[in-house]
C-alpha cells in the first residue's frame, strides 16, 4: 500500500530508525512552531531519528490524550509532550512508560506522572518575575489589569505567580483579570475597552503572547501612562519593546523545547538518564536594555547556530 | 328532524383579524344522514370543519354532539369523540410510508410497541377498498397528488368514526376514483355513520347527500332537502344571483390556422411515452385521464420543468428546447400548476409578490417597482374577485379556492400564447369556476392555445374543443368537443391499450 511505500522511502534503515512523537498543546499557538524546528534540527544532528510532530488544531485535552494513546498503540520509540490540563494525562503517560515508551514533557509539565523528565520554564516562577518587575516599574503603587485565558494550566500557574507577588504590595490594585478565551482579536478588543474603562491604569500584564504578535493590539495603550508586560518574545514582540510600546517580555527557550526533548529522549534510549527529572530551561527577561542582544541571539537561533 | 341531531352548530362565530369567516352559523346534522356543505370560496366551510375537528376554536357560539354541548380544545379531543376529518389541504408525512401516514397518531400498539404487520394488513385492505394502486410501504411523498389525497381519505376511514367530515376530498380525482369513494361512503352511511361532505361539484353533492346546507359569506343561507331542490336553486343561494347564461363556446380554431403548439412523440419514462398532439390558436384542448395517467408530468415537461427522454416540441412550427421554465415563459407558455400549496404559493411573501413574481421573472426585470406592482396586484384581485383585504395579506389567510385564483390569475395576467393548466378549477366554487371558464374562453377567442388537464369530466365536456384522453402515460385517442360525452370519454380513459381504435 501507499503507506508502506512511504515508510519504505525511509529504507530498511527504518527498522533501526527511532521514531519520536513530539506533541504540542495545539497547532494554533505560533510559539510551538519553533519547538518543531528545534526538534527536527536536533533529530538531524543526532541522525537516525524521525520526529513525528502531531497536535490538535486547538487546545483540546481529550484530542491530545487520544493522540497520545494512539502513539502508544503505534509503539513509537519515545514521546515528548507539552501536556494540557495538568494531571489529566498522568495515567496515560504512566501506561506509556510502563509499556517501555519513554515520555518526557516540555513547556507544560505533568509532575505527578511517571514522565522521565521535564524541560521548560517554571511557570509560577516566571509569573513571579513578571510580578516583581511590574512592581519595580510602578514603584509599588497603581492599578494593574491582567490578561489570561482560562483553561490552560500553565497560564493558570503564571497567573498565580503574578498575583502572589502583586498581593504582597498593598499599593498595587488588580482592577480586573480578563479571560480572552485564546482569541487574539478578543484580546485586542479587551485591551482597547479596558484602557477606555480604567483611564488611570498603570500596567497591563498578559501571561500569554496574544497581544504582542501584532502591533495593532496595543494601539489603544499610551506607553507614557501605562506599562505593558507580556509573556513570549517571538517576533514581532521585540520590535514592540524597541518601539517602546512594551516594557518587558518573558521569553522561553522555544527552540530548546523541541531540541532538548529530542536529546533527552535520544539519551534515554541510549541508556543515560537525565541528572534531574526537572530541567529548568530558565527564561529570558527582555527589556529595552537588552532587546538588541536578544534579537541578535534570536537570529542565530533561527539560523540554527548555537548562541 | 325530531330525533336528536348528531351535530349541531349554534351561533358559531369565528373571525381572523378583520376577516369574519363565520358570523353566527347555526344548523343541525341529523344522525346517520349525509349532509352536504356548499358555498362560495371563502364562505367558511373549512373553518367550520376545522372547528368541528378541534383545530380551531370558535370566538363564540357552541358545538353540540347528540345535543350535548362540547368544547374541543385540540384535534385529539375530536378524534376521541369519534369525529373523523379529511382536511381540504393535504396533511401528509412525506417521509413516512402510506401505512405510517394512515395510522399516524393512532398507531395500533401493544404496550407502546407498534403492531406493524397488523397495521400494514389493515392498510392494504383499506387501499383495496378504495382501489388505490399503491403499496402500503410506498413513501407518501412519492405519490402523485391524487393518490396522496386518496390516502388522506383512507386515514379517516381507518378507524370507525360516528361522524365523518370530508372537505373537498375529490378535487384531484376523476369520476372513476370518485365512484369507488362514493361506494365506500354509501356503505359507511348504511352502517349509520353521519357524513358531512364539502364540495364544489354539485353533481357529487346531489349524488351522495340527503340534505344540503349553503353558507354565504360566513352565514347560514339555508338548508335544503335534496329531493325538494334543484342545482340552480343551490347556486342561487350560494352566489346570491343566477349565473348568467353561458355565452356560446368560442367559435374555436379556424382549420386554416397553423398549429400553435405541436408535440411530437414526447417521452418521459416512466410517466408518459410517445405523446403527440397539436393545438391551434384559439383552440381549447382538454387532457383527460385517470389518476396517474401522466397529464401533470406532461404539462410540467412541456414547461421545461423536467427533462424529456425523447421527442420534440414545436411552437408555430419551429422546434424549441427550453432549458428552463423561464425560457418557456419567455416564449409565451404559462403553466398553472396542479398543487397550489406545493407548486404555487409563497407563504412568506404577501399577495403582491405572489401575483407579480412570475411575470417579473419572465421579463427578467432588474428592480422591484413596488407602486406599479401594487396597482397590478390590486387589478388582478379585483378582476378575479379574490376574497382578501388587500395585496398586503399573506396567502395562508386565503381560503382554498381564493388561493387557487391567485395562482391562476398571475399566469393569465401575462397574456400567454400557450396556456397549460393542471386542474385549473381545483377547489374553486361554481361562481369562480364560471369566471375562470369565461376567462379561458375569452383568452382563447383572442387566439391563445389552451391545453387543460382536468379530472373534472363535466368541466372537460364544457370547455373542450377537443378532448385528448391519456391512459398510463399514452394517448388513447381524441374526440371532437361536440361529439364528446361522458360515456365515450370514460370508455377511452379506461379501455385496454389497443382496444381504442
Amino acid at each position: 500500500g501507499g503507506g508502506s511505500r512511504d515508510a519504505a522511502t525511509s529504507g530498511d534503515s527504518a527498522t533501526k530508525k527511532l521514531r519520536f512523537a513530539v506533541i504540542p498543546k495545539s497547532l494554533d499557538l505560533p510559539v510551538f512552531n519553533y519547538a518543531k524546528v528545534g526538534a527536527e534540527r536536533a533529530a538531524a544532528e543526532l541522525g537516525n531519528i524521525e520526529v513525528i510532530w502531531r497536535g490538535s488544531e486547538t487546545a483540546d485535552q481529550l484530542r491530545q490524550k487520544e493522540i497520545l494513546e494512539s502513539f502508544i498503540t503505534q509503539r513509537v520509540d519515545g514521546i515528548a509532550i507539552s501536556s494540557l490540563g495538568g494531571d489529566f494525562l498522568n495515567e496515560t503517560i504512566n501506561r506509556a512508560v510502563d509499556a517501555g515508551i519513554p515520555v518526557v514533557t516540555w513547556d507544560s509539565d505533568a509532575p505527578n506522572s511517571k514522565r522521565i523528565a521535564y524541560y521548560g520554564v517554571d511557570d509560577r516562577a516566571a509569573g513571579r518575575i513578571m510580578g516583581e518587575e511590574t512592581v519595580k516599574m510602578l514603584d509599588g503603587k497603581g492599578q494593574v489589569a491582567l490578561i489570561t485565558s482560562i483553561g490552560a494550566v500553565n497560564l493558570a500557574r503564571r497567573l498565580e505567580g503574578v498575583q502572589e507577588i502583586l498581593a504582597k504590595h498593598p499599593g498595587i490594585k488588580v482592577v480586573e483579570v480578563y479571560d480572552i478565551k485564546e482569541d487574539s482579536i478578543r484580546c485586542a478588543e479587551i485591551i482597547a475597552s479596558g484602557t477606555n474603562r480604567y483611564p488611570d491604569l498603570k500596567a497591563w500584564i498578559s501571561v500569554g503572547g496574544w497581544p504582542v504578535f501584532t502591533r495593532n493590539a496595543l494601539d489603544a495603550v499610551d506607553p507614557a501612562r501605562t506599562k505593558f508586560i507580556a509573556f513570549d518574545t517571538i517576533p514581532p514582540a521585540p520590535e514592540l519593546i524597541k518601539a517602546g510600546k512594551v516594557q518587558l517580555l518573558i521569553g522561553q527557550k522555544y527552540f530548546g523545547w523541541g531540541a532538548e526533548s529530542v536529546r533527552l529522549l535520544a539519551g534515554i534510549k541510549a541508556g543515560k538518564m537525565p541528572s534531574s527529572p526537572v530541567v529548568d530551561s530558565g527564561v529570558d527577561v527582555v527589556t529595552a536594555a537588552n532587546v538588541d542582544q536578544y534579537v541578535e541571539q534570536w537570529k542565530k537561533l533561527e539560523r540554527g547556530e548555537q548562541p | 328532524m325530531d330525533s336528536v341531531p348528531a351535530v349541531s352548530f349554534r351561533g358559531v362565530r369565528k373571525s381572523f383579524g378583520a376577516v369574519h369567516a363565520l358570523r353566527g352559523v347555526s344548523f343541525n346534522v341529523a344522525a346517520g344522514e349525509a349532509h352536504a356543505l356548499v358555498g362560495e370560496n371563502g364562505a367558511g366551510k373549512s373553518t367550520l370543519l376545522k372547528i368541528l375537528s378541534g383545530s380551531l376554536r370558535p370566538d363564540s357560539g357552541e358545538l353540540c354532539l347528540d345535543g350535548r354541548p362540547i368544547a374541543l380544545a385540540r384535534p385529539r379531543d375530536a378524534l376521541a369523540h369519534g369525529i373523523g376529518i379529511v382536511h381540504q389541504e393535504m396533511l401528509a408525512f412525506p417521509d413516512l410510508t402510506v401505512t405510517a401516514n394512515i395510522f399516524a397518531g393512532r398507531e395500533l400498539t401493544r404496550g407502546g410497541l407498534l403492531r406493524e404487520r397488523e397495521m400494514r394488513d389493515r392498510t392494504r385492505s383499506l387501499l383495496e377498498r378504495l382501489h388505490i394502486p399503491v403499496s402500503p410501504d410506498d413513501l407518501a411523498g412519492s405519490l402523485s397528488a391524487a393518490y396522496r389525497q386518496l390516502v388522506q381519505v383512507a386515514r379517516a376511514l381507518a378507524f370507525e368514526c360516528r361522524i365523518l367530515a370530508l372537505d373537498e376530498p375529490t378535487t384531484s380525482l376523476t369520476d372513476a376514483e370518485v365512484d369507488h369513494l362514493f361506494r365506500v361512503l354509501a356503505d359507511l352511511k348504511s352502517r349509520g355513520t353521519t357524513l358531512i361532505y364539502v364540495s364544489h361539484r354539485l353533481p357529487e353533492v346531489f349524488a351522495l347527500c340527503d340534505r344540503i346546507t349553503v353558507l354565504r359569506d360566513g352565514s347560514h343561507a339555508g338548508t335544503f332537502e335534496r329531493a325538494a331542490t334543484r342545482a340552480d336553486a343551490i347556486v342561487r343561494a350560494m352566489v346570491g344571483r343566477d349565473l348568467p347564461p353561458r355565452v356560446a363556446a368560442g367559435s374555436g380554431p379556424r382549420p386554416s390556422d397553423q398549429p400553435r403548439l405541436t408535440v411530437d412523440r414526447l417521452t418521459r419514462r416512466p410517466c408518459f411515452e410517445d405523446v403527440s398532439l397539436t393545438i391551434r390558436p384559439g383552440e381549447i384542448v382538454c387532457l383527460f385521464g385517470l389518476v396517474g395517467s401522466g397529464r401533470s408530468e406532461l404539462l410540467e415537461t412541456l414547461f421545461a420543468l423536467h427533462a424529456r427522454d425523447a421527442g420534440a416540441v414545436l411552437i408555430d412550427g419551429v422546434e424549441c428546447r427550453f432549458a428552463t421554465p423561464r425560457d418557456a415563459a419567455r416564449a409565451g407558455l404559462a403553466l398553472v400548476p396542479e398543487d397550489r400549496q406545493q407548486q404555487g404559493l409563497f407563504f412568506n411573501l404577501d399577495l403582491r409578490h405572489n401575483l407579480v413574481l412570475p411575470r417579473e421573472t419572465a421579463r427578467s426585470s432588474l428592480v422591484v417597482r413596488p407602486r406599479a406592482e401594487r396597482t397590478a396586484a390590486q387589478e388582478m384581485i379585483r378582476a378575479w374577485s379574490i376574497k382578501t383585504p388587500g395585496p398586503d395579506t399573506f396567502p395562508d389567510s386565503l381560503s382554498g379556492g381564493n388561493q387557487q385564483k391567485v395562482v391562476a390569475a398571475r399566469w393569465l395576467a401575462m397574456q400567454p400564447r400557450i396556456l397549460l393548466m393542471d386542474e385549473p378549477t381545483k377547489g374553486v366554487d361554481v361562481g369562480a369556476k364560471f369566471e375562470i371558464h369565461e376567462i379561458i374562453r375569452r383568452q382563447a377567442r383572442e387566439g391563445m392555445a389552451c391545453l387543460i388537464a382536468s379530472s373534472d369530466l363535466p368541466e372537460v365536456l364544457e370547455l373542450a374543443h377537443r378532448v385528448v384522453v391519456m391512459r398510463e402515460g399514452r394517448i388513447q385517442g381524441e374526440i371532437a368537443g361536440e361529439r364528446a360525452d361522458e360515456e365515450s370519454v370514460m370508455r377511452l380513459a379506461t379501455a385496454e391499450p389497443g382496444a381504442a381504435a
Binding site: E50, K65, E66, E69 | P94, D95, A100, Q342
Partner: protein, 342 residues
C-alpha cells in the same frame, strides 16, 4: 424547522433517491450504506497503514479498535440524542457544553465536596436534566427556534461550568480507587459498552415504539402531526430532555473514564456531533434519520481521528482531510442509498 420540509418535499419530487429513506424496512438500507462507508474507511486505512516487514499492524489491532470505540463513545452517546432532536425537526447546539457541565458537577461534588460517586453522578445527570428542561421550555412553551434556544443553553451551561470550577479542574481519576471497575466492567470497556447499549435501546424505541414514530411524524410535518392528534409539545419536550440527559451521561462517562472534570472539555463538539448524525443519515429538515446511523457516523469520524495521526507529517492536514471526508462520505452515501433504491 417547518419550511425546511420544503427541502425534503422538493427532493422527493425531483430525485428518486430520498424516496427510499423511508422508515420501516427501508431504514435498514440507510444504515447499511453508512456501515458500508465505515467498512470502506477501515479497509482503506488498514491498507494504507499496513506496516512494512514484520512490525505489528499499527491500526488494525484490537487495542486500537477499543481505543477508537472508547473515544468515539463520548460523541456517540451524545449523538443519540442529537439524532432524535434532528429527526424531530430541531437541532441541538448544547451537547458539548452539557457534557462539560456534567463532568465538572460530578468532579466537584465527588472530588472536592467528598460526596459518594453515586450521588455525584446523580447530581451530574440532574444538571443535564435541568438543561434539557430549560431547552424544551424555550422551544415548546416560548416557541423559540431550536437553534437559538440551544445556542443560549449552550452558553449558559458552559458558563455555569466555568463559574462552578473557577478555572480549576477536578482530578476524578485520583479520587477513584485504582483499578476501579464500574459494575465490574473494565474502564476501557465501560464507555463503548454504554454507547452501544444506549444506541440499541433508543434505536428500538425509535423504530418499534409509538413514541419514536411520533418523533418521526412531528419532524416530518408538525401541523399534520397536530391534526392527527399527536401531542406535539409532549413529544418535543421528551426529545430535548432526553438529548440533554444523554449528553449528561456522556459527560459522566467522560469524567469517569478520562478521570477529569473540567469546564473547557468537549468545546465545540456540537458540530462534530451534528455532523455525525447527518453523516448517519439524519436530515436537518426533520423526519429522517436514525439513532444507529448517528452512532455509526461518530465511528466514521472516530476512525479518522485515530488513523490520521498515524500518517507521518499529516498533522497540519487533519482539518482539511476531515472536511473533505465529510463531503465525500455524504456524497458516497447519497449514491449508495440511490443504488439501494434500484
Amino acid at each position: 424547522m417547518t419550511t425546511s420540509n420544503l427541502g425534503t418535499a422538493t427532493e422527493l419530487r425531483n430525485r428518486p433517491g430520498p424516496r427510499n429513506l423511508r422508515l420501516s424496512s427501508a431504514w435498514r438500507t440507510r444504515e447499511l450504506s453508512t456501515l458500508a462507508i465505515l467498512a470502506v474507511e477501515i479497509l482503506f486505512f488498514a491498507w494504507y497503514l499496513a506496516p512494512d516487514g514484520d512490525r505489528s499492524h499499527p491500526f488494525l489491532n484490537f487495542p486500537n479498535a477499543l481505543l477508537i470505540l472508547k473515544y468515539s463513545s463520548i460523541y456517540g452517546i451524545a449523538a443519540i440524542g442529537a439524532a432524535m432532536v434532528i429527526i424531530s425537526g430541531g437541532v441541538d447546539l448544547s451537547p458539548g457544553a452539557v457534557i462539560a457541565l456534567a463532568s465538572v458537577v460530578l468532579g466537584g461534588l465527588f472530588v472536592e465536596s467528598g460526596w459518594s460517586l453515586g450521588s455525584s453522578v446523580t447530581m451530574a445527570i440532574l444538571a443535564g436534566l435541568a438543561a434539557g428542561v430549560v431547552t424544551s421550555a424555550l422551544v415548546v412553551l416560548v416557541g423559540l427556534p431550536p437553534f437559538i434556544a440551544t445556542l443560549g443553553v449552550m452558553g449558559i451551561a458552559r458558563g455555569a461550568a466555568f463559574i462552578f470550577t473557577q478555572a480549576r479542574f477536578f482530578d476524578v481519576s485520583g479520587a477513584l480507587p485504582p483499578g476501579w471497575q464500574p459494575f465490574g466492567i473494565p474502564l476501557d470497556w465501560f464507555a463503548p459498552g454504554a454507547m452501544i447499549g444506549l444506541a440499541v435501546l433508543f434505536q428500538i424505541l425509535m423504530v418499534r415504539f409509538q413514541w419514536g414514530r411520533a418523533i418521526y411524524a412531528v419532524g416530518g410535518n408538525e401541523t399534520a402531526a397536530r391534526f392527527s392528534g399527536v401531542a406535539v409539545g409532549a413529544v418535543k419536550t421528551s426529545v430535548y430532555v432526553l438529548a440533554a440527559l444523554l449528553s449528561a451521561i456522556a459527560g459522566v462517562v467522560l469524567a469517569v473514564v478520562q478521570g477529569q472534570g473540567k469546564a473547557d472539555l468537549a468545546m465545540g463538539y456540537e458540530l462534530d456531533i451534528i455532523a455525525s448524525a447527518v453523516v448517519g443519515g439524519a436530515s436537518l429538515s426533520g423526519g429522517r434519520g436514525s439513532v444507529i446511523g448517528a452512532v455509526l457516523g461518530t465511528l466514521i469520524f472516530g476512525v479518522l481521528r485515530n488513523a490520521l495521526p498515524q500518517i507521518p507529517g499529516a498533522t497540519f492536514y487533519d482539518r482539511l482531510i476531515v472536511g473533505f471526508v465529510v463531503i465525500v462520505i455524504v456524497v458516497m452515501d447519497q449514491l449508495l442509498v440511490r443504488r439501494g433504491a434500484r
